[in-house]
Amino acid sequence: MQIRFILIQNRAGKTRLAKWYMQFDDDEKQKLIEEVHAVVTVRDAKHTNFVEVWALSSLLWEKNFKIIYRRYAGLYFCICVDVTDNNLAYLEGIHNFVEVLNEYFHNVCELDLVFNFYKVYTVVDEMFLAGEIRETSQTKVLKQLLMLQSLE
């Protein structure tokens, strides 16, 4: 019942955002990043958007998790949740997040995420907090982001 982490990676495996909602040490994080990339990039449109993982990392393989992912151009947006979690809700959670980014950065592209990495964290925290969905209304999130943008 909880998001374990959110990853945004490009096709080459470069991490554009890593947000962790569970304690992992640095090695484990690195391993997860690599393995998510490995499982997700080999899948195509005939595959589901869900990958059950449980040999992922030393920490994760004790529990059953799944990666719910969606690809946008060269970027993979991945959310790791428990196997019992609602797949489609998180799949659309990703899309909702992407639409907000798209509005906020006006046709978002990978470079926006690179140069404004510290702002992406703010967007994430508005929409997901403590591993839960915090706010789903795009209007409300964007209003809040614009308000923050206007602050010094």
């Binding site: 899948r43 589901t48 869900f50 449980w54 030393s58 393989w61 004790e62 809700a89 943008q149």
Partner: protein, 956 residues
């Protein structure tokens, strides 16, 4: 809306990021980073005080460098300084740095907490949110201590802004997860429930997560949330989509909130209140109805959002399992999805239907989709979808469709992915057994399994077919005929040779009347496979041969010739050689009667749960082996009687040399007790006690019992000093005092063990009336049978005698038997009691498996009671080779390359008891820095997991 310009406000940062991106090589990047780090360090150390903007910029650069994967060891203080800035952008960078680079530096934690406190009290919602997000992201214990009582207050205060409430609710949720003991429940809980009624749906969204988590932990305290959740859900699902404008997503009203509310309701049984219940049923019906309406948009977002709610509603319907109409409707809806063009939906429908199949109300409805599911098995491109189809076929199988499903699974097996073959084999075997009306079908099915996927047919499967054939005499003749025919295949799998050997050895006589399968033909057929088989199979075949000698006297000479050949009698493998020697000898010397008795047909196996089912559930290993070894044991038993001296003389020499140089005075250093006596000399108070020449009849010490004249064994202190040293090894000195040394040598095989106990008299005087017996505590009785052979009552000075203990492990056990020794030494009666190191792990058989198998089993043993974990401090230097040796000594196979972290150890084995076999997986993770280990054991039995964990964790 204005686009955000690149790195706006922080030009230096944008330039730096561009520079990094332009680096052509890793070296160039590192060079650029080092230059920047030096620059930042000098700025931070410089005399000039930095303004807020520069500080923000440099801290942000450090953060960027850290996120690139480089270590950052300074700048924390500057980040903390930013927290107290009254500019949002500076504060935000400060908090971000703290959240990403959590540092448990205690000075800083105090400063950080101070800043957070200030922001929480600032009444500025933006600052309050930054502070709350920081707590929610870090979630450390220190923060919980500082703020756990403050946050509920913010959450329920009347004047708190909505967005702050959202953050406070989830912040509290995080603290409740990380430090539940620090989050006090109080009068705020009732008010939290009422947040479900809040005007602001964002607040309801956040609060529902909090309430669900709290309700899972203490459902009774949050019962009132049921009616509020139903009311809220009802308002959402019946609303026109424009009512919830901000929360409408692609024409679906508040999909995420609906999912969360439906989740919350899954913490509880169906509402008892009739009105509430019917209101909920209405909601669920409405959701099901909406699925039938034409879509309001062609966008996948619309259907995903709608179906997210639908699947969650179906989960709730299945969870309640009380409304037949809803269950059947859910099933029909899922049935439509089974043919949907979206792979996601087909996958989810198969998954969801699997749980529906187990409900009595919907089982029949699920069955109607059998053709579609079978088709999915054949056509789906994604292996995970096919896997779900297999699961569903298994779940929907019953007597009416078993033959069809088994046939389909068998045909799928021909092309199935390697990753799921073993599981399919198990499922087919279980279904074939469970729904067999006539057992000829069952036998055919299993033989087909072996033919199609022999490599994936585990021992459990072929053991089971043998058990069943032995227990059902109506199928024995058919089985013999069928295996005989199957063995004619040019390349038949070794597992078929095993089954064939076993069945023909037992029941070959049933088909021997036909000249086409005369005894000689049968034998030649089996023997034609012999040379291609592995040692265990050959051993089995040899046993089949001796059974043939009993069944068919006419082939005796032929078989004896085979046994007599050099390739058998002088086989390099000791097991094969022994069998050949013993069987040949048995066939030569035993009378027909004895032969018939020894080689009698196997008695029926006691009925018990299918071992394969157990394996699939990962509960147990196979039931009692249909043990061709039994005959061998009998043979061994006989031989032993004939030549007891040979066995005794064979094994001890090396042991005597190793352990018991009793004829010579033992060097003091090798005996801890003597060491203390010798080195500490007369100054040590124990010296008297240890002076063996003057029996200390009344000395006041623990050790006294051992030497005292008291005769009642009950009063003897049981020594267990060396017990744990035997966990990972079988031989060594178990006990030693001034008079006596006890050495052990033991060997174990499946659920049987034999221990040679050597009693060495260290004195020059005879021990008289020597006796030793083994007692089992009450708990142990019935779990472990120990049979002690008698021992010579006199042990001469300096001499050694041997006692043999035969052991049988009946079921898993925790206690250890006690060895009680009594003898007279110089007129005084000596009583010694020693805990005998027979532990559960002695009955391990190591199991090699692939990484994939390991993970599959690991996953299947996921229930909480199946796992036992212990974290403990290392007692010895952490040496990899030593650790490996210990794990191997513990009895499991060490699996290389399974654990993603090469520093960890992973092992697998099967505990053999008479009643059952228990598969066991273990994992040991050393943490050399902390000098700690984490040991995790997973077995199908909690008692076994616990015992093994206790035993092994003492070893490092």
């Amino acid at each position: 809306m204005p686009a955000v310009s690149k790195g706006d406000g922080m030009r230096g940062l944008a330039v730096f990021i561009s520079d990094i991106r332009n680096c052509k090589s890793k070296e160039a990047e590192i060079k650029r980073i080092n230059k920047e780090l030096a620059n930042i360090r000098s700025k931070f150390k410089g005399d000039k005080a930095l303004d807020g903007y520069s500080k923000k910029k440099y801290v942000c650069k450090l953060l960027f460098i850290f996120l690139l994967g480089h270590d950052i060891d300074f700048g924390h203080m500057e980040a903390v300084n930013l927290l107290s800035s009254n500019k949002y952008t500076e504060k935000q960078i400060g908090y971000l740095f703290i959240s990403v680079l959590v540092n448990s530096n205690s000075d800083l934690i105090r400063l950080i907490n101070n800043a957070i406190k200030n922001d929480l009290n600032s009444r500025n919602p933006t600052f309050m949110n930054l502070a709350l997000h920081c707590i929610a992201n870090v979630g450390s214990r220190e923060m919980a201590e500082a703020f756990a009582s403050e946050i509920p207050r913010i959450l329920v205060a009347g004047d708190t802004m909505d967005s702050v409430k959202q953050s406070a609710a989830l912040c509290l949720l995080r603290l409740n997860r990380t430090s539940p003991d620090l989050v006090p429940m109080g009068e705020w809980t009732a008010r939290v429930v009422h947040l479900l009624n809040d005007q602001h749906l964002g607040v309801v969204t956040a609060a529902t997560s909090l309430i669900t988590t709290l309700a899972q932990k203490s459902p009774d305290d949050f019962k009132t949330s049921i009616s509020l959740a139903v009311a809220r859900l009802s308002r959402i699902v019946t609303s026109a989509c424009i009512d919830l404008q901000d929360y409408t997503y692609y024409f679906v009203a508040a999909p995420w909130l609906s999912v969360k509310l439906l989740r919350l309701l899954q913490c509880y049984p169906p509402p008892e209140d009739a009105a509430l219940r019917s209101r909920l049923t209405e909601c669920l019906e409405t959701i099901l109805n909406k699925a039938q309406e034409p879509p309001k948009s062609k966008k996948v977002q619309h259907s995903n959002a709608k179906n997210a709610v639908l699947f969650e509603a179906i989960s709730l319907i299945i969870h309640h399992d009380s409304e037949p109409t809803l269950l059947v409707r859910a099933c029909n809806q899922l049935g439509q999805f089974l043919q949907h063009r979206e792979t996601n939906l087909r996958y989810l429908a198969l998954e969801s239907m699997c749980t529906l199949a187990s409900s009595e109300f919907s089982h029949e409805a699920v069955k109607t989709h059998i053709e579609t599911v079978i088709n999915a098995l054949k056509t789906e491109r994604d292996v995970s979808v096919r896997q779900r189809a297999v699961d569903l076929l298994y779940a929907m199988c019953d007597r009416s469709n078993a033959k069809q499903i088994v046939a389909e699974m068998l045909s799928y097996l021909e092309t199935a992915d390697y990753s799921i073959r073993e599981e399919i084999v198990l499922k087919v075997a279980i279904l074939a057994e469970k729904y067999a009306v006539d057992y000829t079908w069952y036998v055919d099915t299993i033989l087909n399994l072996i033919r199609i996927a022999g490599d994936y047919v585990s021992e459990e499967v072929w053991y089971r077919v043998i058990q069943i054939v032995i227990n059902r005499d109506d199928v024995q003749g058919y089985a013999a005929k069928t295996v005989f025919e199957a063995l004619h295949a040019p390349a038949c799998h070794e597992n078929l040779v095993k089954v064939g050997g076993y069945i023909l050895g037992e029941f070959g006589n049933l088909i021997a009347g036909d000249s086409r399968s005369s005894p000689l033909v049968q034998f030649n057929l089996l023997h034609s496979k012999f040379h291609l088989c592995s040692v265990p199979t050959r051993a089995l075949l040899l046993s089949a041969y001796i059974k043939f000698i009993n069944l068919f006297p006419e082939v005796k000479a032929t078989i004896q010739d085979v046994l007599r050949s050099d390739s058998q009698l002088r086989n390099a493998d000791v097991e094969l050689q022994q069998r050949a020697v013993e069987y040949l000898r048995l066939s030569c010397i035993a009378s027909t009667d004895i032969l018939a008795t020894v080689l009698e047909e196997m008695p029926p196996f006691p009925e018990r749960e299918s071992s394969i089912l157990a394996k699939l559930k990962k509960k147990k290993g196979p039931g009692n082996l249909p043990d061709i070894d039994d005959s061998r044991r009998n043979v061994n038993g006989n031989t032993e009687h004939h030549e007891p001296t040979e066995t005794t003389n064979k094994s001890p020499p090396s042991l005597m040399a190793d352990l018991l140089p009793t004829n010579r005075p033992r060097p003091a250093s090798s005996s801890p007790i003597m060491l203390s006596a010798g080195t500490m000399g007369s100054s040590h108070p124990f010296t008297d006690l240890l002076n063996l020449n003057s029996p200390p009849a009344a000395a006041p010490s623990l050790l006294v019992d051992v030497f005292s004249d008291l005769s009642a064994p009950a009063s003897v202190e049981v020594s267990e000093d060396n017990f744990s040293r035997f966990v990972c090894k079988n031989n060594g000195v178990l006990y030693e005092n001034q008079l006596l040394q006890i050495g052990l040598k033991s060997e174990y095989r499946q659920n049987l063990g034999r221990m040679y106990v050597f009693y060495g008299n260290k004195t020059s005087t005879q021990f008289l009336s020597f006796s030793s017996s083994v007692t089992n505590g009450d708990a142990l009785k019935g779990q472990l049978i120990v049979h002690a052979k008698s021992v010579d009552p006199v042990i001469d000075g300096g001499a050694q005698v041997q006692q043999i203990l035969n052991m049988e492990c009946v079921s898993d056990f925790t206690d250890a038997p006690v060895l009680n020794i009594q003898f007279r030494y110089g007129g005084a009666l000596q009583n010694i009691a020693v805990k005998l190191p027979v532990m559960l792990n002695k009955f391990f058989q190591p199991t090699e498996m692939t990484s994939q198998d390991f993970f599959q089993r690991w996953k299947q043993l996921g229930a909480p009671q199946q796992e036992v974990q212990k974290i403990f401090k290392s007692q010895h230097p952490m040496d990899t080779d030593v650790t490996k040796a210990k794990i191997l000594g513990f009895g499991v196979a060490l699996l290389d390359g399974v654990d993603p972290n090469p520093a960890n150890f992973v092992g697998a084995g099967v505990i053999h008891t008479k009643d059952t076999q228990v598969g066991c997986l273990l994992r040991l993770e050393p943490n050399t820095q902390a000098e700690m280990y984490r040991l995790t054991l997973r077995t199908s039995r909690d008692s076994v997991s616990q015992r093994l964990c206790d035993l092994l964790s003492e070893q490092f």
